[in-house]
């Protein structure tokens, strides 16, 4: 502290130096702690989180039909695929996929994006989040060159297992956390 270059005690921190640094440090930490509530308040609130899971009865979803349900403010596609569509998805070699990760919240990350790892675990049902992984548009069902989904915004094509095949989207459509509460009722989230 200070400008006295010849001060004998210049190397030896004084009580004043300690108080100065301690006060400055306390002010910095206190300031940061005071700031935190103002940042954290922007995160999803308790009532938003409470609505984060829903139940849906899949019994009425017919073969080849897709139903869109709202989950966390966005669409989730529940699609009972035809045998041909499942066969189409099974026949694909994982190594040709742009995104080889299953993107399934029920499996460890890095699981291969095979048909089994993508399906909802109940016959031919497929349940995927309905927002394109590019910029969040809602893809159109049973469209595109791979018979799965086609996103009209920037031209991403998904196959019948909701896997990205062509276009700017970086990831497969995500499979949300699923648990079957009965034979036909699924809990999403």
């Amino acid at each position: 502290m200070g400008s006295a270059v010849t001060d004998q005690n210049a190397q030896e921190p004084s009580r004043r130096d300690f108080i100065y640094i301690a006060a400055g440090g306390a002010a910095a930490v206190g300031g940061a702690m005071f700031l935190w509530p103002f940042i954290d308040q922007m995160n999803p609130a308790a009532d938003t989180l409470a609505l984060a899971s829903i139940r849906f009865d899949t019994a009425n979803v017919e073969d080849g039909q897709q139903v869109t349900v709202m989950w966390r403010g966005g669409p989730v596609f529940v699609r009972r695929r035809t045998e041909t569509e499942v066969a189409e998805a099974t026949s694909v070699d994982v190594s040709v996929l742009p995104d080889p990760d299953a993107r399934n919240d029920n499996l460890p990350s890095g699981s291969p994006a095979t048909e089994e790892n993508r399906a909802a675990g109940n016959g031919s049902l497929l349940i995927v989040k309905g927002n394109c992984t590019h910029l969040g548009c809602v893809p159109l069902g049973e469209a595109g060159e791979y018979d799965g989904w086609y996103c009209p915004c920037h031209g991403s094509h998904y196959d019948t297992a909701g896997r990205i095949r062509r276009g700017p989207a970086p990831e497969n459509l995500g499979v949300p956390p699923l648990s079957w509460t009965s034979e036909t009722v699924v809990q999403i989230g």
Binding site: N43, G74, P168
Partner: protein, 436 residues
């Protein structure tokens, strides 16, 4: 540039005030007796135009907020109510919505003026940087405001733009949820966007204060790019430039109110007359016209660059295209400010302006649209020169202009002869020769 103050308080009250709070003196020195180069052309009037539009946007916005309801169930209807039921609401809403567009028209002219005449060069680097900060704040404010009517384009524009942040590695997902206050654009998002949309214009006003302060230290640049040397090079701001700026402002406002009264929706998008629906995406999402060039740059990056995937690459390119303006003062190596005397640079500048406009055109198109058809592929789809390819070429030029052309030209270009002084550039031989 500002010499000793020439303000002389004439009454007892102004003398009393001047010795306590010299605010009248500040106004006098800044806007009445401020020495201004005598050769400013009409490209220099847009600063004044912008000040008027900032005030207009704040006044109309404050009034609209008295009628607007920031709730997902009422937002769309409350805007329709403002337009249909509130006395003069149709006028206030139209002034505000079209005001944003004309604010951007004026700021783009103002920025291209700066680029052509080298307004960013020493000693005005900070003045330029503050201007880029204002521009970024304007973009943020415009984006937040466009969300508020809660139409389809509002909702999906907000969804696409906030999803851009999902491209950030590791924290992307939690960061976007933090922005949204939920798991998608929704009620929490609308509330906070309204709050921030109300806040940011006042931040802009603050930075505008700094921008004008930084302008009044070196004083205005001018079309010759020469420094002011003598009193003969300048004129007092009032009445010369108050009148010139005033005329330009009236002319610009005339075009503006033409839109407000006769084409109030010409600059908007039809899809925004449909209430927001989280389950239906419009077939073709486009941002407001003033973001289109950057949207085109975002979509031009369709390839991975090393470890950076295409999505993140597009986001980096888009923000980089504005970020690069911050370091422009150090990228342009030419000591000559005005491109009037830079025979090669002015051509590259002209191409740059055309490239920016063309990028805007690409931003409004579908990337896969074909501009020049050239045969078809094996599956029978038409092939050819696409909007995407065009946008990629233009994006390359945009960055090359700043990173290659301006740095290199400073060394290779031979500038034309410049006039002896600002006065000589206006009066020619009749100029009083400065004493040696």
């Amino acid at each position: 540039m500002s010499g000793p103050s020439t303000y002389e308080p004439k009454t007892g009250f102004t003398r009393w005030l001047d010795s306590r709070l010299p605010i009248v003196r500040l106004g006098w020195d800044s806007f009445v007796d401020f020495p201004t180069p005598r050769n400013l052309n009409y490209w220099w009037t847009f600063g004044g135009v912008l000040a008027i539009f900032l005030v207009l946007q704040i006044i109309t916005g404050v009034v609209l907020a008295m009628h607007y309801v920031p709730h997902v169930d009422y937002a769309f209807d409350s805007v329709q109510r403002i337009i249909r039921d509130v006395p003069f609401g149709w006028l206030l809403q139209s002034l505000h919505a079209n005001g944003a567009s004309f604010f951007f028209i004026a700021v783009y002219i103002h920025m291209f003026r700066g680029l052509y005449y080298g307004s960013y060069k020493a000693p005005r680097e900070l003045l330029w940087i503050l201007g880029v900060v204002i521009y970024l704040l304007m973009m943020a404010t415009g984006f937040l405001g466009y969300t508020l009517p809660w139409g389809q384009m509002s909702f999906w524009g907000a969804t696409v733009i906030t999803n851009l942040f999902g491209a950030i590695p590791v924290i992307g997902q939690s960061f976007t949820e933090w922005l949204w206050g939920g798991f998608s654009v929704g009620g929490a998002t609308l509330n906070r966007f309204f709050s921030l949309h109300y806040l940011l214009p006042f931040v802009i006003a603050g930075v505008v204060g700094l921008h004008i302060w930084a302008l009044h230290v070196p004083g205005n640049g001018n079309p010759t790019g020469l420094d002011v040397k003598t009193k003969n090079d300048t004129l007092p701001f009032h009445p010369y430039y108050t009148v010139k700026d005033g005329f330009a402002i009236v002319a610009f406002l005339t075009i503006f109110v033409g839109f407000v009264f006769f084409y109030p929706n010409a600059l908007g998008h039809a899809d925004n007359s449909i209430p927001a629906d989280a389950l239906v995406t419009p077939s073709h999402i486009v941002p407001e016209w003033y973001y289109l060039p950057f949207y085109a740059i975002l979509r031009a990056i369709t390839f991975d660059i090393g470890p950076i995937d295409a999505k993140l690459g597009g986001v980096i390119a888009m923000f980089g295209s504005i970020g690069i303006l911050f370091i422009l003062p150090w990228l342009d190596t030419s000591p000559v400010r005005s491109m009037r005397y830079r025979p090669i640079a002015r051509w590259f500048f002209l191409i740059f302006v055309v490239a920016c406009l063309a990028l805007g055109w690409c931003g409004a198109k579908n990337p896969d649209d074909i501009i020049i058809a050239m045969g078809s592929d094996a599956e029978g789809h038409a092939t050819g020169f696409t909007v995407l390819t065009f946008a990629q070429i233009l994006t390359a030029y945009y960055f090359a202009y700043f990173l290659v052309i301006l740095p290199v030209l400073g060394f290779t270009e031979k500038p034309k002869k410049r006039p002896a002084s600002i006065e000589a550039s206006v009066l020619g031989d009749k100029a009083v020769q400065p004493a040696e």
